[in-house]
């Protein structure tokens, strides 16, 4: 028998477990990975170059399309960096709305992650359950911004509009009986906040459901425990952030360590892993969903009790009221100026980061005093995580590569930008 030499396997870019357009060149010795070389850039759209050619406000929509499963968190980083450089203050109600939607986004992202991760590893049903809950959250996006994914809801100076008083309901249809319609509209009778409150009340039960399906599942544990162990020192060397860093036992969360928005007034905890394997990262993200639910509850209570403006009244940056525009010359000028030319940022540079569901999402803005950014650099958490693929996959089996991709929670919109 002649001996088999190492061979190279091309994984992706069109592979359902590649979470998008990842092309992996794997050098295999039998079934053991010797070297993994991810080729990225297949989804490169030049977001940074595009942002440089547009006034600041027109790029908010591009931020949604970066990490397209945690849209509002990306917007938050971008909008915050503009606010920081302009030095404008955001009304407190807008801050609470932002934090509430950041956490809704975090849950949405983690539901997507748990669904696809479990699907990759071989558990079909979790996907269906996770997407059932995700649907309700997407409806919240729709209710507040009109769009189910790419919201463009955060604006420099606040949020685009206040929360709606009425939650949109399902309409009558030939496909649904009257009883069914009443049942699905049952929790949509009140305002958006009532709907979110109802969701947050029931969601811990759903998390328990996923947990029942996975946490003690023999196959799930065989596939995840002791796979891709990353020590805390290595995690920092590799530039990990978010759940990847916390899974390795480093207690670091921007929401706690460098609190932005109103996170310093909210009560929540940071879960930390012990061994730093895929299973720990799974447990960390599950607990994060529970903590997010806690934050949402606190925000709902605050928002119910404190009505007020949601947009700064600095009309150099935010559009004036439509009604004022009809009668007030200055408002008309502000409106015209804002939508034709935009606003200028002072000269300088700043780096602003938020704790996005995947890790630290940062925006480095360089302004030369113009109405367009001179340079926008987006620091995507997934970029650093994917770069560690080689180290994490080395010595593991081919099937573990799929587990690692799932555990890293890769989304190509942000990796390729």
């Amino acid at each position: 028998m002649s001996e088999m030499k190492n061979y190279t396997l091309n994984f992706g870019p069109q592979h359902p477990a590649a979470h998008g357009v990842l092309r992996l060149i794997l050098e295999l010795d039998g079934e053991v990975v010797e070297r993994a070389d991810p080729h990225i850039g297949l989804l490169h759209r030049g977001t940074e170059k595009l942002a440089e050619s547009k006034p600041y406000n027109q790029s908010i929509g591009y931020m949604d399309r970066l990490d397209y499963v945690s849209m509002m968190c990306n917007e938050h980083a971008y909008v915050m960096s503009i606010e920081k450089m302009l030095g404008i203050k955001v009304p407190e109600r807008a801050e609470y709305i932002r934090v509430m939607f950041d956490e809704i986004t975090r849950i949405m992202n983690h539901l997507m992650w748990i669904g696809t991760h479990a699907l990759d590893v071989g558990a079909m049903s979790v996907f269906l359950y996770a997407f059932r809950e995700r649907e309700a959250l997407i409806d919240c996006y729709e209710a507040v911004s009109g769009s189910r994914m790419h919201a463009t809801y955060y604006r420099p100076g606040g949020v685009y509009r206040d929360l709606p008083d009425k939650m949109p309901q399902y309409l009558d249809s030939k496909l649904r009986s009257k009883e069914k319609l009443e049942k699905i509209n049952e929790n949509r009778q009140g305002s958006l906040l009532d709907f979110i409150e109802d969701f947050a009340k029931n969601f811990p039960k759903s998390i328990q459901q996923y947990s029942d399906l996975l946490t003690d599942n023999r196959i799930w544990k065989q596939r995840l425990v002791n796979i891709a162990i990353v020590s805390p020192e290595r995690a920092m060397q590799l530039g990990f952030t978010g759940a990847m860093l916390r899974g390795s036992g480093v207690e670091w969360d921007i929401r706690k360590n460098e609190p932005y928005s109103v996170y310093d007034q909210l009560d929540f905890e940071i879960p930390v892993g012990v061994t730093g394997d895929c299973y720990d990262r799974y447990l960390v993200r599950m607990e994060e969903m529970r903590q997010s639910t806690r934050i949402i509850n606190q925000c709902v209570a605050w928002l119910n009790a404190n009505p007020g403006p949601v947009m700064s009244d600095d009309h150099k940056v935010t559009p004036p009221n439509r009604e004022d525009m009809k009668g007030d010359m200055e408002s008309l000028i502000h409106h015209f100026k804002l939508f034709t030319e935009g606003y200028c940022l002072p000269e300088g540079e700043s780096y602003t980061a938020v704790e996005a569901p995947k890790g630290e999402f940062g925006v480095y803005l360089v302004s030369d005093g113009a109405n367009k950014p001179y340079r926008v650099k987006i620091r995507a958490p997934g970029f650093a995580h994917l770069a560690a693929m080689d180290e994490m996959a080395k010595g593991h089996m081919l099937s573990d590569v799929v587990t690692i991709i799932g555990s890293q929670d890769i989304v190509f919109g942000e990796v390729d930008r």
């Binding site: 490169h44 170059k49 980061a353 940062g362 360089v366 030369d368 620091r379 770069a387």
Partner: protein, 204 residues
């Protein structure tokens, strides 16, 4: 942060440390990058390199409304004006560091001239610099010395040029289509025209 600023001023000279928007920047010479970064990691506990990126300062501070605007009408801004600037130190590399143990952040900046577009790689100090440096090489053409795998990363296989440079047109240089006669994909010069909808203005 005050403490860090004092310590940095002591170690690297007061004029090199600046503060703006509540952030600290350390300006360094490009030849000193290894020495400074090693020191920052060992003595100042900056364990994580958050971000590394290139910047092209070619058109910095230039607006589209220069010259006699009133005689040329609106079309004056439809085309981005070509820069005639010759900057001595055209490129820059910015490093964003994070210290988990001290809860501090720092930006380190080094400027490079376009004649000698080379800087030492920091992959030995922070391993995650690998891909970030590849990206800066791909998008700006900055060469990182002693980087052991400096391939393009974001652009297509066989791509020519460095797209985030300011003299690289927004619409690109080539377009691609499938040629039925040749039976393969061919590259041709772009056929669309560049268009600026909102001109760049600087108001002081």
């Amino acid at each position: 942060m005050k403490e860090l600023k004092q310590k940095l001023s002591k170690a690297f000279g007061k004029k090199n440390v600046s503060e703006s928007f509540n952030e600290l920047t350390l300006n360094i010479k490009s030849e000193d990058v290894i020495e400074v970064c090693q020191k920052l990691k060992d003595d100042f506990q900056f364990e994580i390199l958050m971000d590394l990126c290139g910047i092209d300062y070619l058109t910095y501070g230039e607006s589209d409304w220069n010259g006699n605007a009133s005689s040329s009408g609106f079309s004056r801004a439809r085309q981005a004006q070509k820069s005639t600037n010759q900057k001595d130190q055209r490129f820059g590399v910015a490093y964003h560091l994070l210290s988990v143990s001290n809860n501090e952040r720092l930006r380190v900046k080094a400027l490079l001239s376009s004649e000698n577009l080379m800087i030492q790689s920091v992959t030995k100090i922070w391993n995650c610099a690998d891909w970030f440096e590849r990206e800066a090489f791909d998008l700006f053409g900055i060469l990182f010395e002693n980087h052991n795998d400096l391939r393009r990363i974001l652009t297509d296989y066989g791509f020519v040029g460095h797209p985030l440079r300011k003299d690289f047109p927004m619409i690109g240089e080539v377009e691609m289509r499938y040629d039925e006669e040749l039976g393969r994909v061919v590259y041709e010069p772009v056929s669309i025209e560049p268009n600026v909808n909102v001109p760049r203005v600087i108001r002081k």
